[in-house]
């Protein structure tokens, strides 16, 4: 099933004049798509367009069959999870456990089922021992996994990861790959921005290349 589709999308940053153009691109559930290209070629820009953080000047984007411009960020977020290059910017609560329940609490939802689900997710992604740890004392890899767990709490089906391997040592990378495998096995979709050869050789997957703002599918 198609999760995210871009049709002849054009985007331009007014401040720098950088233009990104993408003819047609479909991202499906149960698949991994690698987005590669040199620094400054527009990978982050493309990924932000895919989840509605940036809105295209021309063209159309559909997210789970609905037009992105008719969806609020909140609605998109319940389907698509976005991992920032710098995951500490998407963590808000003091401790790991509070972070998992943060949104449910803000929205005033019944805490009981959320708690059970949070326990389960933390155990599955090897974060259970860190429950009471301060979020900002976590390593980058742990912060990433926590951020992805919170997206799963929100029910995301498609995940966009912006340079997740940057700055991770081998053991954290292995954890990340395991997590990606599990998500794929569950039928979730993944779009991963990366330069890493390791990724491309580990999964024989589709690659989307970018050069100077041009998407060369």
């Amino acid at each position: 099933m198609t999760a995210i589709a871009l049709f002849d999308v054009l985007y331009c940053y007014e401040r720098s004049g950088f233009v990104l153009s993408c003819p047609r691109l479909e991202l499906r559930l149960g698949e991994l798509t690698l987005i590669t290209g040199p620094n400054g070629s527009g990978k982050t820009t493309l990924s932000k367009l895919m989840c509605g953080i940036l809105r295209p000047k021309q063209g159309r984007i559909s997210i789970f069959g609905r037009r992105a411009d008719e969806l609020s960020l909140g609605e998109i977020g319940s389907k698509v999870g976005y991992l920032f290059q710098n995951p500490s910017r998407q963590l808000f609560a003091p401790t790991v456990w509070q972070e998992m329940l943060f949104v449910q609490e803000i929205l005033g939802q019944d805490p009981q089922p959320a708690r059970a689900r949070a326990e389960q997710l933390l155990a599955r992604f090897r974060l259970a021992d860190l429950k009471e740890r301060r979020v900002y004392t976590l390593s980058r890899g742990e912060q990433q996994r926590l951020a992805i767990c919170t997206m799963l709490m929100g029910g995301a089906e498609f995940f966009i990861l912006d340079e997740p391997t940057a700055g991770l040592d081998r053991s954290h990378r292995t954890e990340l790959y395991k997590l990606m495998d599990e998500l794929l096995l569950e039928g979730k979709g993944l779009a991963v921005i990366s330069h890493s050869r390791e990724l491309a050789s580990r999964w024989k997957c589709r690659q989307v290349r970018l050069r100077e703002g041009q998407v060369l599918a």
Partner: protein, 243 residues
């Protein structure tokens, strides 16, 4: 007056911001706001451009003002609904003065933002302020745009977590805004730590003195402006506490 010596602009900013902190009488606040706006225009601050860039902080500032309006319970009741006092004179006044205070500080900031930071550092050093302090201060100011970016991204991330800002009830909204500060502060602290290490690694602060090549000079107009500002300052203090 765009080319006035940085020291003149600094003095003006000090006069305005200390007024903003110490004044609490309505007419004085209003007068000071006018004085600040006039000064900002005179010194050629880019008020419109800066306002546009800081637009996204507006909700936070409005919240701060609104909280005062709603929660200050003293003073004559202004709006009464069904026997319950909604707005009081003191509350409205506190809200207004909070807003004016922000305008005044914004004006001072806008003028200093237009000035070349090297010129300001040099004039501070010429005024015998320790150079380590001057450079640290300006390193700190460099962090402000970073605040904006981190704050905007945190806000986006929060919405992507499924929080629709329009649907969050009032009381929770306050909690939301304080939660947004967590990633912003964490990142700022981390960067500050890095910056400090990098500066020290390059030998910053190794010697107690530092020479400067370009010296700022005050011309006649600058001295006149300083005299006027000092007079205004002294008279303001004199009459504010007399009345």
């Amino acid at each position: 007056m765009k080319s006035a010596d940085p020291r003149v602009k600094l003095l003006w900013a000090v006069v305005c911001t200390s007024g903003a902190v110490f004044f609490s009488k309505p007419w004085w606040m209003l007068g000071l706001t006018g004085f600040s706006l006039f000064g900002a225009l005179l010194f050629g601050a880019d008020l419109v451009g800066l306002t546009r860039r800081l637009k996204r902080f507006l909700p936070v500032l409005l919240m701060v003002a609104a909280v005062q309006v709603l929660f200050v319970r003293t003073g004559a009741p202004l709006v009464v609904v069904g026997g319950r006092v909604l707005l009081t004179a003191d509350g409205v006044w506190r809200g207004l003065s909070a807003a004016m205070r922000m305008v005044i500080i914004f004006c001072s900031g806008a003028v200093m933002a237009r000035e070349d930071s090297r010129r300001v550092i040099n004039s501070l050093i010429q005024m015998k302020v320790p150079y380590v302090f001057c450079f640290s201060l300006f390193a700190a100011l460099r962090f402000i745009p970073l605040f904006g970016e981190a704050f905007a991204q945190a806000l986006t991330a929060l919405q992507l977590r499924g929080v629709d800002l329009r649907r969050v009830p009032w009381r929770q909204k306050l909690r939301l805004y304080s939660a947004l500060l967590v990633p912003v502060l964490a990142e700022t602290l981390a960067r500050a730590e890095n910056l400090a290490a990098v500066m020290e690694a390059r030998g910053f602060g190794a010697l107690p003195q530092r020479t400067i090549y370009v010296r700022n000079t005050m011309n006649g107009r600058d001295w006149a402006a300083v005299a006027v500002l000092l007079l205004v300052g002294v008279f303001a203090v004199r009459f504010y506490y007399a009345s």
